[in-house]
Structure formats: C-alpha cells, structure tokens
C-alpha cells in the first residue's frame, strides 16, 4: 500500500506492507515516517488546529491547537468542543483552554498571543 507521510512538509512517499501483524515501511527519510505509517494502519492520529470564540475586544475568535495528536475519528467531536468554549479574558499564547480533551491526555492550547487592542 502507498501512503504519503504528513508529519512534515517533506511528504515522503511510503511503501507500506502489513505482514504477520507487523508493519513494514520503506521510503521514509526519518523514523517518524515509520511511526506514522504504523499508526495510519492501526489507529490514525492527527494534530488539529482550529478556533474558539472570545469576548475580548479585537478578537472575535482565537486560534488553538491540540498539543498532541488525537484519533482522526474524533476530529469532529473536537470541533464541537471548540464551539462550546468561550474565552473571556486576554490570554497569553500557549494557554490551555481545555485539558485532557475527549478522554485523551491532549490539551487544547491557544496559538495566538492576545494583546490588548490599541484601537
């Protein structure tokens, strides 16, 4: 089976084979490619970036990311969770807005530094 590694912009083309319950990978430039292929066949994982609302002036929404990977199948559940969050004060970049999301040990953290608008 052919896969494209999405870990970094190199986008290595991977040739993946599953034999005796083990995954064999060629074409990866680094170890992360092998890990990616294995996960892709067993339990695909994704980092997700999105937004949450805020009531802070100048920031109708603020960008967030998962600080690790979550199962691909839970992406839309995560989007629902994002919809439910409202930030009500200026937060520095990297602030946790939800911890341990969807039963994982992954947190949702902000990726924009909210500065008080000088408008």
């Amino acid at each position: 089976m052919e896969l494209v590694c999405i870990v970094c912009p190199n986008g290595c083309r991977l040739d993946v084979e599953q034999r005796d319950g083990r995954v064999f990978v060629v074409g990866n430039k680094c170890k992360r490619g092998a890990d990616f292929a294995t996960a892709e066949l067993t339990n695909p994982m994704r980092s997700v970036t999105s937004l949450v609302k805020t009531t802070v002036r100048g920031y109708p929404v603020i960008s967030v990311k998962t600080d690790g990977e979550i199962p691909k199948s839970k992406i839309f559940q995560l989007m629902k969770l994002c919809d439910e969050i409202t930030v009500s004060q200026p937060l520095p970049i990297g602030s946790v807005v939800a911890s341990g999301v969807l039963g994982t040990d992954v947190n949702l953290v902000t990726t924009t530094n909210m500065e008080i608008a000088n408008e």
């Binding site: 494209v4 999405i6 609302k53 924009t112 530094n113 500065e115």
Partner: protein, 412 residues
C-alpha cells in the same frame, strides 16, 4: 522623524528585516497597515511553519510570535494602522507618506526595505464571466473571514485551485461545518503538496477534480451556481463540457502576485518571471538604498525562506553604502526563475543564497552555476516541481574570474 531604515510591511519578511537592521545598529521604523504584526501568518492557523528554521511544526501565529517577541526586545519604532501611500526620493534620503489614525504622516529615511507581501489573483484576473453576485471570495479573504473574524463565507462551497492555500481552506471550511462540494483544478496534476492532498482532502472525503475550471457564475444577489468546464492541456475551456454545480460560495485560490505598487512609484525595475524587483545577493534592488524581501520579492512557499530574505536585507542595510558593480546572472534551461538576478562583486559574494524554481515537473536534473564557463557549483535533483522552491548557497569566491554568470538546469 528621520530613520536609517524604514521597513514597509510587518509580516515575517518585514519582522526579520527590522530585527536584523536594528541589531546591526540602525534606527528602524516599521510601518504596518493592519492592527497587529505578523502579516498573512496571523490567519494561517494551520501548522507546518518553521520546519527548516526551528525544526518544529508551528502554526502561523506561533511562528510570527517568535519574531514579534524579538522585535519588542530590539529598538524598533513600530507604527500600526499605517498605510504607506507613497515613497519618493529626495536628494539623498527617501520621504515616506503614510496614512494613520492621526492623519497623513511623513517619515524620512536613508534606506527602504519593501516587505509588502503579495496579492491574490481575483475573479477578473482569471476572467470568470457571469453575474455580479455576492459569494465570490479569494482564498485569503475567506481565510481572514473565518480565522480572524470568525465569520463563515458560505455553506456550500466550491474551491477553484488546488495549491496549498486552496487545500488548506477546503479543510478549514469543512471543519467549521461548511460542505465543500469539490476542489477544481485547471491543470492535470494538483499544485499543492501531496501531504496536503492527503490530510486536507482525503481525510475529509473532499473530491478533487482535475483539468476542470469555473467558467461562469450565476446568482441574483447571492451566488447560486457555478458553471464548470473541462479544459484542454493549454488550459482553454472546451465547449460542450459545461456542467452546473449548486453552491453559495466560490473560493478562488488561483495564485499570488508580489505586491509592488510602491516599488513602481520608486521606479524600481521589476522582473518578468518573479513579478518582484530585480535584486542582487543582498536583496538590494537596482535602485540604490531600496531593498525587497519575502513575498514582495517573489512568491515563497516556505515562510522560513521569507524570514531568511528579510534577514539578508536587514543585515545589508546596516553596512556602509558602497558603489555597486552589478553582474547579471542569466538562466538557461527549464528554469522559471532564479533569485537573485544580479551579483554585486563589490560586496561579499562568498555564500550567496539563491532560490530557484523549475518551469515544469522534471526528473533527474543537474543544476550548474558557471562563471566565465567555469563550473563553481553543481547539484543533482531526482525530482523538481514548480510549486516547490529550491534553495542553494553558492560560493562565487571560488571563481577564477567573475564575468558571465549563468545558472543552468539540464538533464543529468
């Protein structure tokens, strides 16, 4: 006020240039038209930035933040909400006019760094006919609506253009609850990174249609449908292949063009291939004291190289002005362009950073740089793709004689 350097544009190129110039001892004014620094990165909330520079996959705002923090520590005067309307040469300085909250203001500086980024091609730029209805957006405008303002541009969306920006918007709009009916691409191969085809389209079952384009839009006041036609290999639509697709929003991700309004008013010669200024290895344009970097110079796919070009310009502005001796660098073979297009032999030419793009998809290529016929650099490439810019560093000091300079791409 009088400054050594005025940097126009507060995106990654301008930030890097301002920091570098200030660290080199120059007094710097950074002028940005928006409310916040960071340029286009503010709205690029997806990750994948900084892999070359930081070895990490940062989101756009996180990448920008690292430079904004360094800028705060540097002694740079920042003017936000300030739009530069013109720059003119006085006897040996430049006078910059900008509009800000206090009205029209002027600044005088010895040197200018243009870091104004790029523009998106619009509906007019690709001649889509039909009604003048609401609901047609460029990808950047749609991205700004969603990621900065928190507003959706539509519910049923057609995306034209399969470059990375189109792909990333397809995923973003899907995640926010819109139905992306399809991504349409006039070329026979997708333009974006394979990685993005996979994680933006395949992950969400968004169809990609190749060799097809939007030829007409329909809608009373709001977009109701678009006409899609097949195109031939020369990208001309084929009559009789039209089909209608219902949608309330068309997102155009059909290319970027360096923003060079100010370069024009300063009589800076532009390059046909890059649509940015012609520059030497220090990012100095053919007009002494005017520099260009980032997407204003040529459209980059990696922000890491945008910052790098800003740093090259920012480092050079702090040096004493010297008379330049410019040699043209000519290109041969299937090269779309090479930047820089000139070599100043009166300044350092030891480790010249050069960027190039192939003009078509190629395999087994050799790139050589020659000076008076003597090869001073050579590298082979298994595969070259026009959407992926390549970077090399060339030591022109190796050349016995610096005369005719050529960059050639040929079959291995």
């Amino acid at each position: 006020m009088k400054y050594d350097v005025a940097v126009i544009g507060g995106g990654p190129a301008g930030l890097a240039a301002a920091i570098k110039a200030s660290e080199g001892g120059a007094s710097v004014l950074l002028i940005e038209r928006e409310a916040r620094l960071g340029g286009i990165l503010k709205q690029c909330i997806h990750d994948g930035f900084g892999v070359v520079r930081f070895g990490e996959k940062l989101s756009g705002p996180e990448y920008a933040y690292r430079f904004i923090e360094r800028l705060k520590a540097a002694n740079v005067q920042v003017s936000l909400f300030s739009f530069v309307t013109s720059a003119v040469k006085l006897s040996d300085t430049y006078k910059i006019t900008y509009v800000c909250k206090d009205g029209v203001k002027y600044a005088e500086c010895s040197k200018i760094i243009l870091a104004t980024g790029c523009r998106e091609r619009t509906r007019n730029g690709i001649s889509i006919h039909g009604d003048r209805c609401a609901g047609v957006y460029t990808a950047g405008a749609a991205q700004n609506l969603v990621n900065i303002l928190g507003v959706m541009p539509g519910k049923r969306i057609v995306i034209l253009g399969s470059g990375d920006i189109g792909l990333i918007m397809a995923r973003r709009l899907t995640l926010e609850g819109a139905k992306v009916v399809g991504v349409y691409e006039a070329k026979s191969t997708p333009s974006g990174l394979t990685r993005n085809i996979h994680q933006c389209l395949h992950d969400f079952d968004i169809p990609l249609y190749l060799s097809k384009t939007v030829t007409r839009v329909f809608g009373q006041s709001r977009l109701e449908k678009v006409e899609i036609s097949d195109v031939d290999e020369r990208m001309r639509s084929i009559a009789g292949t039209e089909q209608l697709v219902d949608c309330d929003c068309l997102v155009l991700a059909v290319g970027l063009i360096p923003e060079n309004e100010l370069a024009r008013t300063l009589n800076v010669p532009l390059n046909k291939a890059t649509k940015g200024a012609t520059v030497d290895q220090n990012c100095q344009t053919l007009v002494d004291g005017i520099y260009a970097c980032g997407n204003a110079l040529h459209v980059n796919d990696l922000v890491d190289y945008v910052s790098e070009s800003g740093e090259i310009a920012g480092a050079h502005v702090t040096l004493q002005k010297t008379e330049r001796n410019l040699l043209p660098i000519t290109t041969e073979g299937k090269l779309l362009y090479v930047v820089p297009q000139m070599l100043d032999t009166n300044s350092d030419f030891g480790n010249v950073v050069m960027y190039f793009r192939a003009s078509e998809e190629l395999t087994n290529q050799r790139l050589t740089v020659t000076a008076c016929g003597e090869t001073i650099f050579s590298k082979t490439y298994a595969k070259l793709l026009p959407p992926e810019m390549e970077r090399i560093t060339v030591d022109f000091g190796k050349a016995r004689a610096l005369g005719e300079l050529t960059v050639r791409l040929e079959d291995k």
